[in-house]
């Protein structure tokens, strides 16, 4: 259901202010969403003054700098730092993206950093993605080929392989799904752009033999048709993929196929 305001325990309060101690002239204010599960208090926004003269170019570098030099209590996920693993997905300057590939120079004014929107927060910038992973599992993201033997390779033409471009590159960082207002309001039933892009990836795979069953499975008022082409997903995707188009293609297949 559409609920615009945050629940009482999620209202964000003003937090601590960490003043710069380096005396640098090139400072930027960084506002970071904090929540500590051990205190039982509401989330707060802590503000840090960061010396930009000694900080590399990405938002993740700012977070690392803060964790190393200003406040070791801050928690966030990160791993590869090269836009491959999808761990450091968060909301920066009002837009979802990967902290490791988002230049802080692209954000005007103070840098606001929040966890991915409309998730249960585990701690600070860490959101709970269990629901999304369960939905991912529900589309059975693996090759289903019953007739062919396990030992011979399944030949795929270049044209058929090309259909997977723009779908297989997804790293499941959840930037798109958590940017989608439809997913905010109906995330328990609507599969969301990330999972639907993967559903599409298996539907168009020429080697898969369960195409029809897969299509039937997503052909649902809530699972699929809650996409209203708001297109936040496509503009959020850090890999430049187009989940909205994939969803439209599924809709098109359902409209033209006789199941």
């Amino acid at each position: 259901m559409v609920q615009i305001s945050l629940p009482e325990n999620s209202k964000v309060k003003k937090g601590k202010y960490f003043e710069d101690k380096t005396g640098s002239k090139n400072l930027r204010k960084v506002n970071i969403y904090r929540w500590d599960p051990s205190t039982g208090e509401n989330p707060r926004i802590d503000t840090y003054e960061v010396d930009m003269d000694n900080c590399p170019s990405k938002v993740l570098d700012i977070l690392n700098k803060i964790k190393n030099e200003l406040d070791p209590t801050i928690a966030y996920r990160r791993s590869c730092a090269h836009g491959v693993c999808g761990s450091c997905a968060m909301n920066m300057g009002g837009k979802n993206g990967l902290a490791c590939t988002t230049p802080h120079a692209d954000i005007k004014g103070d840098i606001d950093i929040y966890p991915l929107p409309h998730l249960k927060v585990k701690r600070d910038l860490i959101g709970d993605l269990d629901g999304l992973y369960k939905q991912y599992k529900s589309i059975e993201p693996w090759l289903k080929s019953n007739s062919k033997s396990d030992t011979t390779e399944i030949i795929q033409s270049k044209e058929d392989r090309k259909k997977l471009d723009g779908a297989y590159e997804c790293i499941m960082c959840a930037c798109c799904s958590t940017s989608c207002p439809s997913y905010w309001w109906n995330g328990d039933k609507y599969l969301g752009p990330a999972v639907l892009l993967q559903a599409y990836r298996w539907i168009v795979d020429s080697r898969d033999e369960e195409r029809e069953a897969r299509l039937k499975k997503v052909a649902d008022e809530l699972k699929l048709y809650r996409c209203h082409t708001i297109l936040n997903c496509t503009s959020a995707c850090p890999k430049g993929l187009n989940p909205a188009k994939a969803i439209a293609e599924i809709k098109k297949m359902l409209a033209t196929a006789s199941l």
Binding site: I4, P7, P37, H118, K120, V121, W184, S235, K245, E249
Partner: protein, 127 residues
Amino acid sequence: MENKEPLSPHIQIYRWHISSLVSITHRITGIINIIAVTLICLWASFLLFGESKYENIDIFFNSYFGKFIILGVTWSFLFQILSEIRHLIMDLGYGFEIRTTKITGLIVIFGSIILTITFYFIGKNFI
């Protein structure tokens, strides 16, 4: 422990894009249009009560507020039509590139305003 974990901020912090703005306006104008069509039906049925009753409506439509309502509804219909065309094109699978969505979104926004002004001047000439 239940509900202890807070919900991260969503619509409060997410930046608006042209596409999301067009999408929400599409919904709002849709609701306005349903109300407007109902009122237009009522307006038409006032004809049954004779000329003197109908004059009241004439007076209302000639007031500034009445004119504002007419222009507002005209814009609302035009926005809905343009946005619906955009949706139809998308349903065919075209126009999903970020640049294209921005351009078509801007066409819908400014097109509806320009067409409203055009309609206003056409109406003026006929009176």
